[in-house]
Amino acid sequence: MSLERVVITGLGAVSALGIGADANFSRALAGSSGIDFLTLPPPRQLPTYVAAQIKFPLPDLVKKTELPLFDRVGLLAWIAASEALQQSGLSGQTDQAALLESSGVFWGTGMGGAQTMETGYVDLFVEGKERVRPMSIVANMNNAAAAQIGMRAGFGGTVNTYSSACVSSAQAIGEAFRHIRHGYAERVLAGGAEALLTYGVVSAWDAMRVLASTNTAHPERSCLPFSRNRNGLVLGEAGAAIMLESLSSAQARGATILAELAGYGASNDATHITKPNPAGQTRAMHAALADAGLPYTGIDYINAHAAGTPAGDQAEAESILEVFGNRTQAPLVSSTKSMHGHTLGAAGALEFVLTIQALRHQSVPPTAFLDDPDPGFDLDFVPLEARTNQKIRAAMSNSFAFGGSNAALIVKEFVQ
């Protein structure tokens, strides 16, 4: 059986950079950061923390009557998913029975409805209440976002949730790619969402000593991937979605094809619960290249996982150099986390949305605020300014997680 080619027909994103895939890309290209002081409901304020928090009102896409069923993570998920669905042209006009039969949702999230859970605990343990909101379970469960997307899109095929920390949505996209390629579905709405900026969750991350120290004069400059001065990650919230389709499905309905998803590689470090292992990361990148049938010289841009932690960025620079050779041979590498923060379960999808747009616009977003690159890494990290008018034939997006899971996705120009 021949394998189906898988193409991308829609994108969606919401993050601290804004609403919409285009708005997110424009702001990333401009090197403009969405990071600022974290604002939490009083009295539990953490005034010295920064985050890539969505501080603008969310679009009103869910009926008021249905809001009790939604954690913030579900709202972010549906905002991104509905944008991708709309761009693909699948919403509304298409044969609904066919959609029901052969369409799925593969979605990633690290902590699902973390805010709902925390609100329930505060009610019980702090406020002394004897009960929690009745919809706490259906709003909190990790598959709530995927289920809501499936219902709203009318997709009745396989609906899966991937929860592997920071690679959750990269895995969701990669596994969706395989799902279509092997003929299990014609189309999958894939992506991820995360909304865990709560007092409890942020405190837990802080306790691990992995959060970046705040640049108090310029909070937006607090996340410094690949910098000599990097000292941690900045948490963020986001939703991001990609409409994947078999080439035959997209062509049959005359859809606009944005790009082709060419390869997916996955691996596990199998070494340490948090310390990243370059050998494991290398395996994922090699696997993705082999899957795409591309030599390493075929990749012109890598959107790095690089969250700004000392050990993480070091390991990734080493693994990229191992796979791609030295600075003159290796593709451009940038970390957009310098602007949208580490959105955990949404990170793989959000960064892949930006990677797809970099390919489409032949323009690479910068590693913002990188005025003092770590001299130990011999790579071009696209510091400070975007590179426009590039020749980008294919691009890779890396995602690496606590727990040791690694994923690399490759997108290339669609050529008939």
């Binding site: 009926k63 009960r131 009745p134 919809m135």
Partner: protein, 81 residues
């Protein structure tokens, strides 16, 4: 006393509909109120009237059925005070 006005008010808010469309004999189903809506509504009514309906699960078909259930708890509460 009857809790019907409070039930109708909260139901209208929860379903985002005009309160005039809610009569005692209006079927919950016809308003678009499913079992989850009713559970949320009773949760809010418990707060509103400071009562505990607990795990009682009567068959609620029309709006007055909810008001009747709440009224029973209000009478019990009044008797205890």
């Amino acid at each position: 006393m009857t809790s019907f006005p409070a039930v109708a008010k909260l139901l209208a808010e929860r379903l985002d509909i005009n309160i005039d469309t809610i009569q005692p004999d209006t079927r919950l189903e016809s308003l678009g109120a499913d079992s989850l809506t009713v559970i949320e509504l009773i949760f809010d009514l418990e707060d509103e009237f400071d009562i505990k309906v607990g795990d009682e699960r009567p068959d609620l078909v029309v709006v007055q059925d909810i008001a009747d259930q709440i009224d029973r708890y209000l009478s019990q509460k009044a008797a205890q005070e």
